[in-house]
């Protein structure tokens, strides 16, 4: 499969996503600079983590205007798989492909650590190989991952099973203690109505080789690779 990893000025997990896809999973991968207008023959688009444009104004606020985003939108609207990880998720929300916004973490500190993440739904291209309720231990690394959306949007997300990942304790309980940033309903990741666009704050691409501390993120990539064949 062909993965396009979009690079914004300030992206810094672009190489990690590329490494995972290309060297760990043996897929073909291309960096796509944000000023380009075509995604080439991509089958999957990854918006990686980082601090696009420094995130000085608001996370993802400026990246959404990049020329490539029109193609990303068209790609998403055609039902093809798009994943936004961390800053990529924030960009997807800023450009309206996913609902909600991120607030500062409730303790206003940046958190980099492994957290428990529960798979809530297995019917997206990025969770097809997982089972509902499966627990992943994967890293987060963000200062603004405190997911917020108005109550009616949250209700809609829950009603339509669009919460895909939730912070949970090691034994799968959704508790406040397991919530690293204050996200509403412990939401760690969601999808769009078409279920092909997924955004999440945790970094599955950082957890694909045991030597780095966890390989639990593999299921996200294995799912989309399986989805494509």
């Amino acid at each position: 499969m062909n993965f396009a990893v979009v690079v914004f000025p300030g992206s810094n997990c672009d190489h990690d996503a590329y490494h995972a896809v290309k060297h760990v999973f043996g897929q073909s991968a291309e960096f796509v600079w944000h000023k380009e207008t075509s995604l080439g023959d991509a089958d999957v688009v990854i918006l990686p983590g980082g601090f696009s444009h420094g995130d000085y104004l608001r996370t993802g606020a400026i990246a959404r205007f990049s020329p490539i985003m029109a193609s990303v939108r068209a790609f998403a609207e055609a039902g093809k798989p798009v994943i936004g990880i961390c800053n990529g998720f924030q960009i997807l929300m800023e450009c309206g492909l996913l609902p909600g916004a991120m607030l500062r973490n409730r303790d206003v500190q940046f958190h980099c650590e492994h957290v428990g993440v529960r798979i809530e739904q297995a019917d997206t291209p990025f969770t097809g190989k997982a089972s509902v309720g499966q627990m992943l231990r994967i890293p987060i690394a963000h200062g603004e991952g405190n997911y917020f959306a108005p109550p009616e949007v949250i209700a809609e997300l829950e009603a339509h099973r669009r919460v895909i990942f939730r912070y949970a304790s090691a034994d799968g309980e959704v508790t406040d203690a397991a919530n690293p940033n204050g996200s509403v309903h412990n939401i760690a990741g969601i999808c769009n109505e078409g279920r092909n666009v997924v955004g999440l704050m945790p970094h599955p691409e950082r957890a694909v080789e045991l030597v780095t501390g966890s390989a639990d993120g593999r299921v996200v990539f294995e799912s989309v690779i399986q989805h494509g064949v």
Partner: protein
Amino acid sequence: MVFDSATLQRHGVTPDEYARIVELVGREPNLLELGLFSVMWSEHCSYKSSRVHLKTLPTEGARVVQGPGENAGAVDIGDGLAAVFKIESHNHPSFIEPYQGAATGVGGIIRDIFTMGARPIALLDSLRFGPVEDPANRRVVRGVVAGIGGYGNSMGIPTIGGEVMFDETYSGNPLVNVFCLGIARHDALVKGQASGVGNPVYYVGAKTGRDGIHGATMASAEFDETSADKRPAVQVGDPFMEKLLLEACLEVMQTDACVGVQDMGAAGLTCATSETGSRGEVGVEIDVMHVPQREAGMTPYEIMLSESQERMLLIVHKGREAEVERIFEKWDLHAVRIGEVTADKMLRIRDHGTLVAEVPNRALTDEGPVYRRPFAPPADMAARQRMPSVDATQLPVTLDALLRLLASPGIASKRWIYRQFDHMVRTNTIVLTGLGAGVVRVKGTNRALAMSLDGNGRFCQLDPRQGARLAVAESARNVACAGAEPIGATNCLNFGNPERPEIMWQFAEAVAGIGEACVALGTPITGGNVSLYNETAGAPILPTPVIGVVGVLEDASHVRSRVFQDAGLDIVLLGENHGELGGSAYLTTFLGTISGVPPALNLAAEGALQRFLVAEAGLGAITSAHDCSDGGFVVALAECCFDSGGIGADVDVPAASGDGEVGMAAATLFGESATRVILGVKPEASTALLERARSAGVAAQRVGATGGTQIRVAIDGVVAIECPVSEAEDRWTNGFSQWLESPPQRRG
């Protein structure tokens, strides 16, 4: 003389130095020229007080690819690759404005690394603060930690480790030392050198503002009151700009269009132009009118002396300009041509064509003053080294004592700090921060690099030479514990006012100690940094040399952390316990004093121990390794249990013969004898391992086994301390944040 003494004083130039300037220039300098000399001859840039001592450091070795003198040092790590690394201090700015001071410190050291053509892959930080009972210190801690994270995280360079200590003397003088390591191919290392007469000189990055123009170099003739107001004391970091610069510069350097590159750090454009010219034995001529300026009406003096962040100077092969400009444009950066390389070894500065300064490059960079400042040991040295007379009740060996030590700020887990640092980005970190030395794999090879920063101001206060030797040994030992062979070192020397003989003595002794240990342990010094005048109202900081050691692990899969991997392992102690409490964390915690003689260090035994740890890496017997440092054996043992999921340990150690009867138990358990490592060893392999240790000349004994839920420590068969792992781990994990968040106390 055309300048009055006040002007010279403001420039920090002594009458003797001025006379020398006149001699070197061949005439009276003008004000701009005086400014150039004042910054280049400042202590910070010229190392005028420290140079004679630094010269004695060992800088050569088979692995050294680049020793001191360039923007950073480099050592060979195999496969044609070099590890490029250096440490920098940003102490004073971090006191003035903790967040921005620390952030711009990170930015500065990162530039030093990518200037060499290396991709930065890891950061470490070494911090010293005053006690955080005082809200003022708390503000510094919070700001510095957030600032390091704010810059490093945005850059996508993991901060994979560091160290922090607290002492009253750092209250007005916090230390922020930051280390960065990058990777480059040997043949692609870029030097900070100009060459090729007629080659264009480019400026790229942030615009030049009035920031950072050194207080000591203000010149009355050009500054009225209002312009002084315009000059901010603090620089604001722009990690986004730096990220663009990093990517663009590395892309430019992949072409061979560049002759040399230099970042603009201290002394800004002055340093970058004169140093590149001087290293390349050429001249450099620029016109300041081309320099991008953030504010209107800047004078050549201000432009040349500005220390605005995130700026680079490039010397480009004539004819390749378009290629270079195109790459910068891609990253939304505009490289501007500000001048060219000339043949006559002069630094020539023009303003709209008019010549405004003309001085020989080498006069600025190499012919500055060198001082052999007098030194003498402090008068109270003997008193410092005397152990306080105490009775046994003042030296508790109880469960409570252990818990208190584990929760003390110097020893408690630093998770509150490193959780604010992205320590996993780039997916190379293979020993997570907090679990040992920082270790990153090198993608595309089997190897990994381990690195550690260490320094112990307490030991140095009691004996600077010994303290420095111990710091080198500890840093290298941490790297060897991970399985890596120590191959190179860098150092950041933080001291008080060198014009005072006792400070100069501390400095000279520490440098001598570093030299001795680096020679013995095979870790040449490839670079470093000196930070002097760290004192408030005549009260200096503890002498604080911070050592960074880098090691290579041939097979990354052999890496070890400090954590016991399983129950039922043999616990083996390498090294000997001499029961030395002098300068220990234990004494400071329970007696509130820094006193005694620091632990002895046998460098031959230390070397043997480290070589043994490295040789064992591939053999599989050792599953974890942790050195005994602050808090001694029991604290180290407890740390081996932490993060293991609650695995306990049951050990029995012989009493140490050390500091007499009183406090024997405390000395045995909490003394900080060097050259000791606790191993978790597969039981079926431990007899053979002990045998191998013996033949390697390394003292080794099986002292117990892992398992159960308790940490139980006996001395000669009598249980001294018993504590549930969970309770100990809880105190250790939360000690730091509880302390930081406890109700503030105003002191004094």
